[in-house]
Amino acid sequence: MDLSVVILVEMLYAVASLILISSGLAVVFGMMKVINLAHGEFMMMGGYATITAVNLGINIFLAMLVIAPLVVGLIGLAVERLVIRHLYGRLVDTMLATWGLSLFFIGLATMIFGNTTTGISTPIPGFAIGNYQINGYNFFIIVVAILLLVAMLVILKNTRAGLIARGTMQRSDMAAALGYSPDRIYMATFFCGSALSGLAGAVLAPLVGLVPTSGGAYIAKAFITVIAGGPSLIAGLFSSAGFFGIVNQVFTFAISPVIGEVALLIAAVVLLRLLPQGITGKFFKGKL
């Protein structure tokens, strides 16, 4: 009984962390069609922003939920103005440019923070479920992921800004004809996507040892989740993160963590063979 509760929590946590890892990319790649290979590095910088802020004596929750997204969002803004805006619609060129950016950010972080592992401890103590001890921080991550999905849904669906952003991504010429500047809207959307990546890196930072190359660990999972999710932003993110998170944890508990990772990748291959347009290419069609 206790064990099944623990397994359930771990599954929810796996799904939540996939949602967090992928949300920034879902905006930048899913909505804007920019293949951002520096996504992992945006997360890494979110982690460093948090650790630096905490070491300066700032409250850890403030650092994770406000400072890190802002810092990474602003970096994203600079990146968009200097590089990305010249490359909209040129998929291969953005890949090359963002890959270069990822190397640049790794080098920059190495110069500033050194090539050693840093980290902070989790702010929430563990607690007991029956005979099992469980990491209390898992619940924080689950809550953040839920709030994030709800917030994205509300903003995109129920606000004028969300409507304009969605419209611009579909037909920027029409949005321009209606008097909105696609340039500005792309800029703002990229800022939001980067800030989400920063938030994810920040929230996950207390669980890992952070090094400048940490981003590499996230990038593959983020792309798999977003691509398998398909065209709908939020329904796709939720359904593919749910599917992969559960597959991963079932095999992890049943066999081993390595098999869990393998199962995730095999599930992704099979899924894309059966549903080449992603989950929401077939199910939840037309949903957001």
Partner: protein, 406 residues
Amino acid sequence: MSLNRRNFLASTAALASASMLPRVALAADTIKLGSILDTSGIFDAYGKPMDMAMRLAVDEINAAGGLLGKQVEVTAYDTQSDMALYSQYGQQLTRQDQVDVVHGGILSASREAIRQTMRKTKTPYFYNVLYEGGVCDRNIFINGVTPAQQVEALVPYAMSKSGKKVYILAADYNYGQITARWIQKFVADNGGETVGVDFFPLDVSDFGSTIAKIQSAGPDLVIAPLVGGAHLSFFRQWAAAGMKDRIPLASTTLGVGNEHKVLTPEEGNGIMVAYNYSQELDTPANNAFKEKWAAAYGDSNLIHEIAVSNYQGVLTWAEAVRQAGSLDRDAVIAALETGLSIEGPAGKVTVDPKTHHAVLDVHIMEFANQGMKVIETLPQRQPIDTQAVCDLAANPGDNTQYEIQI
């Protein structure tokens, strides 16, 4: 300059012929020590202090009048954490610079990239890093602890502090696999039982499900030869789940790159380890070493296990040259094979003639407030794992890395 075919050919031909010119042998008034380490890139946390330690040792030797009346000159290459550069710089050190000895290599892959070059060019090679054991080659000398040396000391101590049921979490490559086998052996030898073994690729950083699995197995002790930054998350998540005060932890790798200074005291305190060196080792030799380091580099905080190994490796080679009275490879090897020893910061280091590995002190330690507190010193432990497969006295032509079957 526009690059057409003609002047491209001309310039490459000029370059090629320049590099083929026979190097005028420098007048042999210095002894050349070659060093090959990753002092930049992802392994620089290991390589930089090793480089500093090597230079400290050479400066000391020179200040004391050098070797055989000559000064020692360092030729060092930075391999930038790129394995391909090892073979290139290994060739350069031995064929162009024609150094008298090479110290260096960090990962096992880097050692294997240059070991054969050293052997072919008859350049004595010192690999001064703890590693998985089993290399058997007359041309190489290795002074890092091997898994059996550590595990033989660590397991009985950790079990006496906890209990008989042990769970093992190891990195999924040869070091972790081999170490996990040794742990199982010594757990059984000490009357215990291994209740679970899990291996993790180096990029796994989420251990939530593993922590739950460990709890359902209910061990008395967890031994974790995990490697690298991603795996450091385990120790963090273990503490975050509140497990640290319930099941004791031991490791054979944590702390080699000064990881105990990254974990907070709440996360690290009480983790049991066994190494050759600790900054907290309170011996006159170590205190003097730390003072020398601080005088040279300002701050002795960077010193770690393999930096000290590198320092001891240079001292061992220097002692052998003194005893041999020559730089000739065979004379130096013969001097080392007399079972020569030196006193290093981590205690006495003796060359084992049969395996060219080291007999050295192993200290059992516990993390305490971001330091490694020495609990017990086990003097002069033999490299029993490599000794089981390698006998260079009987078989000097051997040139293999054995997979040690347990």
